[in-house]
Each structure stands twice: as C-alpha cells, then as structure tokens.
Amino acid sequence: MTPSIIEAQKEIVEEFAFFDDWEQRFEHIIELGKSHMDISDDHKSEKYRVRGCQSTVWLYPEFKEGRIHFHATSDAMIVRGLIALLMKVYSGRTPAEIASTPPAFVDELGLNDHLTQGRANGLASMIEQIKLYAVAYGQLEKSHAGNGKEQNA
C-alpha cells in the first residue's frame, strides 16, 4: 500500500531532519534533482510549461484508474529536486486526496524561508498547477461517473 500524501510528507520531513544545515539540505535537493527522471521532449512544450517560475518548468498529468500521475522537470537542478519532492507527495493520488491535502511539508522544511522569493513563488505555482489538475480531473470523473473511461490531458 502506497503511503498517503500526509505520510509521504512526514517521510520527507524526517528525511530532512537528518541534515544539520542548509548546505546539506541543498545538496540533498540537488541529488534528488540529479536522479529525477526527465520527461520526453514532446512534453516540454508551451502547453505544459508552468507559468510563474524563473527557470523553465514543465508539468503534465496522466490520469489512470482514478489516479493522477504527474511527470515534471525543469532545466534548473534545484528546481528539479523540488519537483522530485512534489512528485513523491502528489503523484499517483486520487484527485480528491490531492485537492484536499495542503503541502504542509513546504512550511515544515522551511523551504520558503530558504528559497529565493522567485523560487518560492515558482514552487507555489507548481503546487497551484497540481491542484488545478486535481480539481479538473475530479470534475471530469464526476461527469463521466460510471463509464470507466480513461482520460489524458
């Protein structure tokens, strides 16, 4: 059984508690970024570009069996690391769970305090986009209730 969004966030907070200072935390975020899977060039298009980020971020959803699988990347490594965290928290969840669970880990890790204003805004933009997809798929699910169709964005 995959952990819930709340559990996934708790795991991340525990993982980061292991580090003494921000340099180590940044190093860890960079490592996460380096090992984060890239997305195909087809999806690096204007349609999937997240606005409000200083570096370029692409995010696209795939809706399968009632769950949204997010695929995302950035041309900047620290942002890729943040994306890896967001994916761990939000990807593969139901629209309802995504829409109803706030990203508490962002505050708990003190991410906003340690990211530049532009970065913090970019992170907020990504979360906003994830939530918007969740709401959209949630509504789509309701309107298609019972016919079992799979939808892609």
Partner: protein
C-alpha cells in the same frame, strides 16, 4: 578624503574636500548595507550593483534630515518650510545639472527614473514629431526600457523600429549602424553602457553620425553615470537619462536631460498640478521648463537624496571610481577565466564592471541560489534584455556587477562560492 558619515548634512556643506588616496576600507565604512549579515553569519558580498547600488550613510542621513526638518511641498507655499523644501529640491536640480555638464537647470527634469524618462521622450517628443515611414533606431543590446516605449510609439505613429546588431563580443556593428542610418532616421536611442554585457558604446561617434542625418538622440545612461564622468555637452546628446538608485541615490527618482530648445518645442506628457501656468475650463497654458514636465508633487526627498549621492560621487572622484572598477574587472575576469567550462558574455574591448557568465551544464539559477547561501549577491536572469539572451541563444546568465566600493576580497569570496556551487551541481 573627508569622512562623510560623521558630519551632519548642514555641516557637510561647508566641509572642505581634501582629495586623498583611495582608501577602500574607509569608503566601505560609509555603506551600512555592506556589513549586513545574511543566512546567519555570512556578511553580504554585494555584486548586484547594476541592479541597484548601495547607499552611503550621507544619503540615508540626508533623507532623514529632510523628513525630520524640512518636509513640505515645493513651489507652492509662502511659509518657511515650503521655502526650505523648494530651495533644497531646486539645489538638487543644480547638482544634477553640474553632474551631467548641462548648461541650465531648465534642461533637467526629475523623473521616476530612466524608464519614465524614456517614456516621456517617446510619448511627448516621439509621438508629436514622428510620422508614418519615419524610423527609430535602437540597438540589439537595449534594456527592455529602451525597446518597449519605442514599440508603443511606433504602433501609435506608423514609424518603423530598426535595430543595430552586435557581434559575439557584445560590440555594436558600426558598419551596420552607418547603413541603417538614413534620412528616414528621426530618433536614435541607445544604451551608453550595457547592463547585461558591460559594453561601453562609442556614444560620441553614434551621436555625431545621427546628427549628420538630422536625427535626435536619446542616450540611456543608467549604467554609465555610476562608473564614468558624463558630459552631455561634450557628447552633444539631445536627451540623456539616468536613475538615481544606480548611483548611490534613492529609488523612485532619476533625471532626464534635454536640450533646452528641444524641450521647449516638446509638449508636456502628463497634466496636473505644478506644470501649469493658468488653467480655465477652456484652456490651459503651461508652466516654464523644467516644471512643464513635472506634473504633480515630485519625489522631493528623492531628488534631495540624489543631490547628496552626487556630492558623494564627486568626493570619491571618477578617476578613483574608474581605476578601482577597472582593477576589479581585470582581476575578476582573470579568476573566472581559470574556471573550466565557464563562458563570459560580453568581452568588448571597451567594457565596464559587469561579469555576465554561464557554466557548461549548469543552470545559472542554481549557481545564483548556492552562491546566495554563501552570502554572495549576484543577479540571475535575462537582465531585462531578452534580445541579448536571444543573440547568444541562452535563457539567462549569472551576473556579477561591480561598484567602486567592492574590493578584491569580494571577488575572492565570489569566486570561492562559485567553485563550491559548481562542485555541488556538477
């Protein structure tokens, strides 16, 4: 050199300027922000001077003094405070006049900054005199503030916008400039010193050639006045503009110089108080220069603060400013050149203190973020000059920009942090 910060503004006026050797540590002591701590215990290394300069204590004290003792509206009151404020505001105009080498205070208009000044010229002079088929000539290395206002007036008038290209060193292609310059060219507007590349453009040559075809020339001096002595009459510029905050002054204030006859012929841009002579519902006659272009209550404190900044620059002396920045630029360029995979953008023969660069395989935002953790303030982005980025086919650069109050230790700490960032990100 007199130590500016331990004198009261009133005393300072009488202070005798004794030119002395360039004492960098005494100068740094005048700038409180240079001693700020960030991320815990890291003293800030400020290398974002092209974005805005830090302020010496005397500028901060002057603003404080104005609001504490002289605050009042200008040009209106018969009372003492208003007269004091007016006197201080108009004296600041005189300082700007001398700073730019203008002939008369009437040629100095206070604006919100360079951006507003360019918009004033575009919307007042440009919109009035441009006709369909006329051409406006700018360059490939312009800041957006010297592109967008001309696109707007182009759309309003049917004029055309032409662009002088540059080479990969970031130098204007002068042969192309001469080809683009024709009888149709009515306005030439170019950047004196590029904020993204540091290139110092051959202003006098461009102005003389433009005058040869009868064009009027605006020079964006935002990045020039903090680094070099500017003389608008020597240059023969028709319009010249700069922002106070890039040359030790407050934000929200700057100046537009315009030749008197041009300003006389140009209608005002904004209407309101202070810019009028007589108002009836049928007709309004306008005030004289420079007030014709200063509608509404101006940024009085800002102008006075700018005056203090100019005084401070004069005390440092431009020969010292240029020498210190040239030394640092040379040193920084050498240190950066040692780094594998690092490319400097902007390698013009004539260049001011800007180090714009990228490192292979690393996003500049990542570099900037890690360096910030080390207390190094650089700018990462397109520097409001996206066409420059397009020229080099890159989204952004990391930029360290220098001021005379930077020292070699700043450069060492910057390069050390850069090595660390590269190590973490590679």
């Amino acid at each position: 050199m007199t130590v500016a910060h331990d004198l009261q503004p009133e005393e300072k006026k009488q202070a005798i300027v004794v030119p002395g050797p360039f004492d960098i540590e005494r100068i740094r002591a005048d700038f409180p922000t240079l001693h700020e701590k960030v991320h815990g215990d890291k003293t800030v290394v400020y290398l974002d001077n092209a974005a805005t300069s830090q302020k010496p204590r005397i500028v901060i004290d002057t603003l404080n003094h104005y609001y504490t003792h002289d605050n009042s509206n200008v040009h209106r009151g018969v009372h003492s405070l208003s007269q004091r404020a007016t006197f201080a505001y108009e004296r600041a105009r005189g300082k700007v006049k001398n700073f730019l080498g203008a002939e008369s205070e009437k040629e100095i208009i206070f604006t919100r900054g360079t951006t507003e000044a360019i918009n004033i010229v575009a919307q007042s002079y440009g919109r009035t005199f441009l006709r369909e088929g006329d051409e406006i000539l700018i360059s490939e290395m312009e800041h957006h503030a010297n592109i967008v206002p001309w696109q707007m007036v182009r759309n309003q008038t049917g004029a055309k916008l032409r662009v002088i290209p540059m080479n990969d060193r970031g130098e204007l292609l002068m042969e192309d400039f001469y080809k683009l310059l024709t009888k149709r060219t009515k306005i030439v507007s170019f950047v004196h010193v590029s904020n993204a590349l540091g290139t110092i453009n051959p202003a006098k040559e461009i102005i003389d050639a433009a005058h040869g075809v009868g064009a009027v020339v605006l020079v964006d001096g935002a990045q020039a006045v903090p680094h070099t002595r500017v003389d608008v009459r020597e240059l023969d510029a028709d319009f010249y503009t700069f922002s106070a905050h890039k040359v030790l002054g407050p934000t929200g204030i700057g100046a537009l110089y315009g030749k008197r006859d041009l300003l006389e012929r140009t209608p005002p841009w904004q209407g309101g108080g202070d810019m009028i002579d007589r108002v009836t519902f049928e007709e309004t006659t306008y005030n004289d220069l420079p007030h014709k272009f200063e509608a509404g209550t101006p940024h009085i404190a800002g102008a006075i603060g700018l005056g203090a900044a100019i005084d401070y620059m004069h005390r440092i002396g431009f020969e010292n400013v240029e020498q210190q920045e040239a030394n640092l630029l040379l040193y920084g360029t050498e240190r950066l050149s040692e780094i594998e995979g690092l490319r400097i953008y902007g390698t013009a023969a004539d260049k001011a203190g800007v180090l714009s660069f990228n490192v292979d395989g690393i996003h500049p935002h990542d570099l900037g973020s890690i360096m910030d953790m080390e207390g190094i303030a650089t700018r990462v982005g397109h520097h409001c000059a996206q066409p420059v980025m397009q020229h080099f086919g890159i989204p952004a650069t990391c930029r360290a920009s220098l001021a005379f109050y930077n020292n070699t230790e700043d450069m060492d700490l910057f390069v050390q942090a850069l090595y660390k960032a590269i190590r973490m990100l590679k």
